[in-house]
């Protein structure tokens, strides 16, 4: 199922406080052919487990004990600081743009932020894991929608056509031109033209490398 960088299975450390969901995620990830190296229930344990196991990716729930607020998110930021080679996929029951801001603040890839609901689509979960492990960025469509929603009135984003906005949203979610073309049922060339027009309207440098393109788009959207 393409879940291996090289030929070994993907190694995952999981942070989720609810036993019910932790167990479910472990089974799901193992069913998908990954190795769950450790599954813990709070932020500090997650950081320790990542340092000990050095997994390919840490999957983290935002709300964990002891504070039950953004414990998991802070652990994720800590993991990115202490173990830059480890990708991070944050799962959350709700979308909070500020959480996405904090995750994206260091401007590097290898990070994802998804609603927990997406986890129930196994293919989507695996695709997201592959993407972040490969150094890409994955954002939940709802996060991107919220980034759009908080634009100011005089924002150049408002000058984009509906189709261009759609393409911009898909770029922000982390999709390649080919993937966008497939999703919108157009040719990659058409997407390429859209992309160039969007970048010109927003005054962004068109970048061929996909993740730096995503980061530029997000940096712009986050204002």
């Amino acid at each position: 199922m393409g879940v291996s960088p090289g030929d070994r299975p993907l190694r995952v450390v999981l942070g989720e406080d609810s036993v019910l969901l932790r167990e479910g995620l472990v089974r799901l990830l193992e069913e998908a052919g990954t190795t769950v190296a450790a599954a813990v229930g709070d932020g500090p344990s997650l950081v320790r487990a990542v340092m000990a196991e050095r997994p390919d990716v840490a999957v983290v729930d935002v709300r964990m004990p002891p504070t039950h607020t953004d414990e998991g998110l802070r652990a994720a930021v800590e993991v990115r600081r202490l173990a830059p080679g480890t990708a991070v996929l944050v799962l959350s029951q709700y979308v909070e743009v500020t959480y996405a801001d904090e995750l994206l603040a260091d401007g590097r890839g290898g990070v994802g932020y998804l609603l927990k609901d997406r986890v129930t689509d196994l293919d989507q979960l695996l695709a997201a894991l592959d993407e972040v492990v490969a150094g890409g960025t994955v954002l939940d469509p709802q996060v991107v929608a919220q980034l759009f929603a908080r634009r100011r009135a005089d924002d150049p984003v408002r000058r984009l056509t509906p189709r261009e906005r759609e393409v911009l949203g898909l770029i922000a979610e982390g999709h390649s031109n080919t993937a966008i073309a497939r999703q919108l049922v157009v040719t990659p060339g058409a997407v390429e033209k859209h992309t160039q027009r969007i970048f010109a309207k927003l005054g962004l440098a068109p970048d061929e490398e996909r993740n730096s393109r995503v980061m530029a788009t997000l940096a712009y959207l986050r204002g």
């Binding site: 609810s18 995620l25 089974r27 069913e31």
Partner: protein, 428 residues
């Protein structure tokens, strides 16, 4: 422990001494008001006239402001006396606070409507003060003079002096004169309390209207907004708790259910028996999620309350209680306001939950009925007592809920029991 109870002080002095105190209070008030009234009405009339006359050279504004401050002094003096005369406490108005630069501070009274009412009162009270003074002094003089007339009749020179009765055409005579004047004195003494009361109350009512009715409105607004704040706070706490409960309960079950179904989908081709196990587990999860939802919706007003009213909802509540409940509901056929029904329902629901959790009671009694214009809800148990109204605790939340509908919660729960929770809500 008891909170939010209204205590009405009962007057226990014997009736005759109470009546004497009332007459003396009224008389003192009526007599004093003349000098005070003359002084302040002179100051205010002069000050306002001088102030308006010199407004064009700005000095007038300062004169007016100082005059209004003098009127405020008069008003403060009057407000201090009103409760004794009218027999009940009165609210004090909030004056505009002086802030800003010195000029702005000085002119603050000019912008305050209450200041102008104070000035109006200082002027309008004068005629009433004259009347009160005259009636009071005359009544006392006639009463005291008449009753004691027999003691000093001898001291009056009688030659060339026609007394009242001779003028009326009676045969003159010392005994008739003494008898007549004494009777007049007694009559005046009998009328005096009522006459003095009338003029004192007349003047006091003018003061009440001009000096305190704005304050009463302000106080009412303040009370309403405090009630609204309590309602908002109670609502926010309840919503936060509900959000947490949903997150920890049904939402997790449903997410896990989604995961397991997704897993089962993959297992179907490869390992159908594993898929069957996973699906069976998923079924259990779905049932548990439903159970959680049902438990949560119990914290929200149940459908039976909206559909069938308070009595039916309370009966359902009583039937669910693990501690046996004696329920006595005496309500009219028509429905109460939804807010009232909800609050009454939650009082009983929370109280019964506490009884079940903490009291160790064997039996519990719930009484709901109309008592003198209020809906009275009483929950009583024979348990261990010691319930506290701690902020953040269920009972304190209940007190907030009640304040929101202008109600009062009283919890009487001595250590060792029993606990008696009484809620009184406006009948609406």
């Amino acid at each position: 422990m008891t909170t939010d109870t209204l205590v009405m002080p009962s007057v226990t002095a014997p009736p005759h001494s109470r009546r004497l105190r009332r007459v003396l209070t009224d008389s003192g008030y009526a007599v004093l008001s003349l000098p005070v009234g003359v002084l302040f009405s002179a100051v205010v009339v002069t000050g306002v006239a001088a102030g308006i006359g010199t407004v064009v050279v700005w000095v007038g504004l300062a004169v007016l402001a100082l005059t209004l401050l003098a009127a405020r002094g008069s008003a403060t003096l009057e407000r201090a006396q009103l409760p004794a005369v009218l027999g009940h406490p009165l609210p004090r108005p909030a004056y505009l606070p002086a802030e800003g630069g010195p000029v702005r501070r000085l002119l603050t009274p000019l912008r305050d409507p209450q200041s102008w009412l104070d000035a109006l009162h200082a002027v309008l009270r004068l005629p009433l003060a004259v009347l009160a003074f005259a009636v009071t002094v005359t009544s006392w003089a006639v009463a005291l003079g008449g009753i004691t007339y027999g003691l000093w009749d001898w001291a009056l020179p009688q030659e060339g002096n026609e007394d009242l009765f001779e003028l009326l055409g009676f045969e003159g005579g010392t005994s008739l004169r003494i008898l007549g004047y004494t009777l007049i004195g007694l009559l005046a003494a009998a009328v005096l309390p009522f006459a003095v009361r009338a003029v004192a109350v007349l003047q006091a009512q003018l003061g009440r209207v001009l000096l305190t009715s704005r304050a009463a409105t302000q106080a009412e607004l303040g009370r309403l907004s405090r009630g609204r704040d309590a309602a908002v706070a109670a609502e926010a706490v309840a919503l936060r708790r509900l959000e947490r409960d949903i997150h920890d309960g049904p939402q997790q079950h449903l997410v896990r259910l989604g995961m397991d179904l997704s897993r089962a989908q993959r297992q179907l081709d490869r390992d159908p028996s594993a898929a069957r196990t996973t699906l069976a587990e998923a079924g259990v999860l779905a049932r548990e999620a439903l159970e959680e939802l049902r438990a949560l919706s119990r914290g929200i007003a149940p459908p039976v309350l909206a559909d069938r009213g308070l009595a039916a909802a309370l009966a359902a509540l009583a039937a669910r209680s693990p501690v046996p409940v004696e329920l006595a509901v005496d309500l009219p056929g028509e429905r109460l306001a939804p807010a009232t029904e909800n609050t009454a329902y939650f009082v009983v629901s929370e109280a019964l939950a506490n009884v079940a959790k903490h009291s160790g009671a064997d039996v519990c009694r719930v009484e709901v009925g109309q008592v003198g214009g209020v809906l009275r809800v009483v929950v009583e148990d024979d348990g261990a007592g010691g319930a506290l109204l701690v902020p953040g605790h269920g009972l304190a939340g209940l007190a907030d809920r009640l304040r929101a509908v202008d109600g009062v919660l009283t919890v009487d729960s001595p250590r060792g029991g029993p606990t008696r929770t009484v809620a009184e809500l406006p009948w609406a």
